[in-house]
């Protein structure tokens, strides 16, 4: 430490010594993340630094010769120029396209995407006219993503809000760790879907693989077809009129209503019998379950 000798440091109080060494001793307020929105504002729909875009201002982006980084950078440049409707052409399964978009935008992909497509988004409406690889929409906060073909595994992992829609079938571990929002699947889903789900709703019009809803804390899963098996603490619940009305509205919104309606759906919820729901130790709980 320039200008301060060891003897001087030793003579200081702990707080002064920490400050002299460049460390902070401020008391944390309990909130460590950056506050983005003012709670007093009437409408808080956009980040303060989000670009103003206009939905009628359209741009096409041919990605044949571009890398993922170049595509994502170009999308941001177009948004900063005010384009609110961007069509990405010929993505050819590239990974991580359209990630981290935190403002309103209509984004279309004319083709299929690879892994981590449009993850970490908060606001845009996305349509993918193809399929997606693993982890589409991971951690999305709000907005909509519609995939017109199939999707890979971990579809909608840890999403917190918005609608994530796949009109085809999806892979395994769909909605793993989801904390909110809605996942809609037109076809089947694989094993361990809804694993450790915490909030939100998942609707699968087709079949579900084994261990559905394993260790789910909360949230609701609706399955239109066969369930190979339910996971630990996932139990069937009564499909209420309110559920049916919601399913009808939500599936209708994306033109995914099955021919036979929604009465045949099976509703799966958390049984809330796992150890984390009481004060018993795991070993004690084993004696009961």
């Amino acid at each position: 430490m320039a200008g301060v000798s060891d003897a001087e440091l030793k003579a200081m109080s702990q707080e002064d010594r920490a400050a002299a060494l460049g460390m902070t001793t401020e008391q944390l307020t309990g909130r460590t993340s950056m506050i983005e929105f003012n709670a007093d504002e009437e409408e808080r729909f956009t980040y303060p630094w989000a670009p103003d875009v206009f939905y009628n201002k359209r741009a096409d982006l041919d990605t044949t010769e571009l890398t993922t980084t170049e595509v994502n950078t170009r999308i941001r440049e177009l948004m900063n120029e005010g384009y609110g409707h961007i069509t990405v052409k010929d993505p050819r399964g590239k990974h991580s396209l359209g990630v981290g978009i935190l403002s309103r935008l209509t984004l279309e992909f004319e083709g299929s995407l690879g892994y981590f497509a449009v993850g970490l988004i908060d606001g845009p409406n996305v349509r993918i006219k193809g399929r997606v690889g693993w982890s589409c929409g991971e951690n999305m906060m709000s907005g909509t993503i519609v995939v017109e073909k199939n999707a890979g595994s971990t579809f909608g992992a840890a999403i917190r809000g918005g609608d994530l829609v796949c009109k085809g079938s999806v892979g395994s571990r769909t909605g793993i760790d989801m904390k909110g929002g809605t996942i809609l699947v037109g076809g089947d889903t694989g094993a361990l879907s809804g694993f450790m789900m915490q909030r939100g709703r998942m609707v699968v019009c087709g079949n579900a693989g084994k261990n559905l809803g394993d260790s789910m804390y909360d949230g609701t899963i609706f399955i239109g077809g066969e369930i190979q098996s339910c996971g630990v603490d996932a139990v069937e619940a009564e499909l209420t009129d309110l559920d049916k009305a919601w399913l009808t509205r939500k599936l209708g919104q994306y033109s995914m209503m099955p021919d036979q309606g929604v009465d045949h759906f099976t509703k799966i919820v958390a049984g809330k019998q796992l150890w984390n729901y009481d004060n018993l130790e795991p070993n004690e709980k084993k004696l009961i379950l």
């Binding site: 050819r92 595994s153 694989g190 094993a191």
Partner: protein, 311 residues
């Protein structure tokens, strides 16, 4: 993490060497350490195609005297071929350490192969009627150019880009793997096998040989053993899901079939495209797009899924 790829043309031949090169190059980011191809040409009855390496590539860096050692090993190899009355119908020295032989042989091929592999520094990469197995350090484009795969016509192929996690970066540990006694079987694998040593010991007790410490080699030996015992490829793949512990997706090719299997967790990826005359699969769609740039429908096979396609 490794990348795997496979393709099979039904009822026709195509430039599978070039196609597999494009696919594996697109998967380079999944494994830059080594690249391997198992390509299947037209089987010629009576001909055995043997791909063999007489040294690891790092051996070439040992300096003065290396070539003399390689020449000596090749001489020993050809002495063993002569001893077993194998007729050398063609010979190609692809690199100083990798050779391709076309052999005529009526005797016990397995016995001859075991004899060859007793020689110092020599490993048979493949021996079969249709199979040719090429693997080396570097990316797909480099390996393909070195081994002139761009001109290889055939019906099907599998390939692998390796990120070394369980064993060394060398040709011995690169995929695909081939195993006795079923000549034309090859395997590529993405995953980790957790009961490798137990199953390896079982296979060794049956008399099978292992050339590496790579867990993926077990799948080749396991499959070869099953096929040699009359079990169909589909049944072998299905049984492997019970027998093999760990997370895996693997592809197996024989002289006229291509198969795939996924573990009980579906923890390793595979994207699949099927049409009437072509089936293509890879760890990532970007590899399929490398040869089919137009929009296509693809799917993800589920956990415990097994599929087999005929050429």
């Amino acid at each position: 993490m490794c990348g795997i790829a496979g393709l099979i043309h039904r009822g026709k031949r195509s430039s599978v060497g070039s196609e597999m090169t494009s696919m594996l190059q697109a998967l380079k980011h999944r494994g830059p350490d080594s690249t391997g191809f198992a390509v299947y040409g037209e089987p010629k009855p009576g001909d055995y195609i043997m791909r063999v390496k007489v040294a690891e590539r790092e051996f070439m860096d040992k300096g003065h005297g290396v070539q003399a050692i390689l020449d000596s090993r090749i001489e020993n190899l050809e002495s063993v071929l002569a001893l077993h009355k194998a007729e050398v119908r063609a010979k190609e020295t692809v690199t100083p350490y990798a050779l391709r032989y076309v052999l005529g042989h009526d005797g016990d091929t397995e016995d001859m192969a075991r004899h060859i592999e007793e020689l110092e520094g020599i490993e048979i990469l493949s021996m079969g009627n249709g199979l040719e197995l090429i693997k080396d350090l570097g990316d797909a484009a480099e390996v393909s150019e070195t081994y002139n795969l761009g001109t290889f016509d055939g019906t099907h192929a599998i390939g692998h880009t390796r990120m070394a996690t369980e064993s060394d970066v060398d040709i011995r540990s690169a995929h695909p793997y081939w195993a006795f006694p079923y000549n034309d079987v090859s395997v590529v694998h993405n995953g980790q096998i957790t009961n490798y040593w137990i199953k390896r010991r079982q296979m060794e007790h049956k008399g099978h040989r292992f050339m590496s410490n790579c867990d993926s080699e077990l799948l080749a030996v396991y499959t070869a053993d099953n096929l040699a015992n009359g079990i169909s490829l589909e049944d072998s793949l299905r049984q492997s899901i019970e027998d093999i512990d760990g997370v895996f997706t693997y592809l197996v090719a024989t002289k006229d079939q291509l198969g795939m299997a996924k573990d009980t967790m579906a923890a390793k990826p595979l994207v699949l495209y099927e049409s009437d005359d072509l089936i293509v699969m890879a760890s990532e769609e970007v590899a399929i797009r490398a040869i089919l740039p137009h929009e296509i429908d693809t799917t993800d096979p589920y956990d415990e899924e097994v599929r087999v396609w005929q050429a």
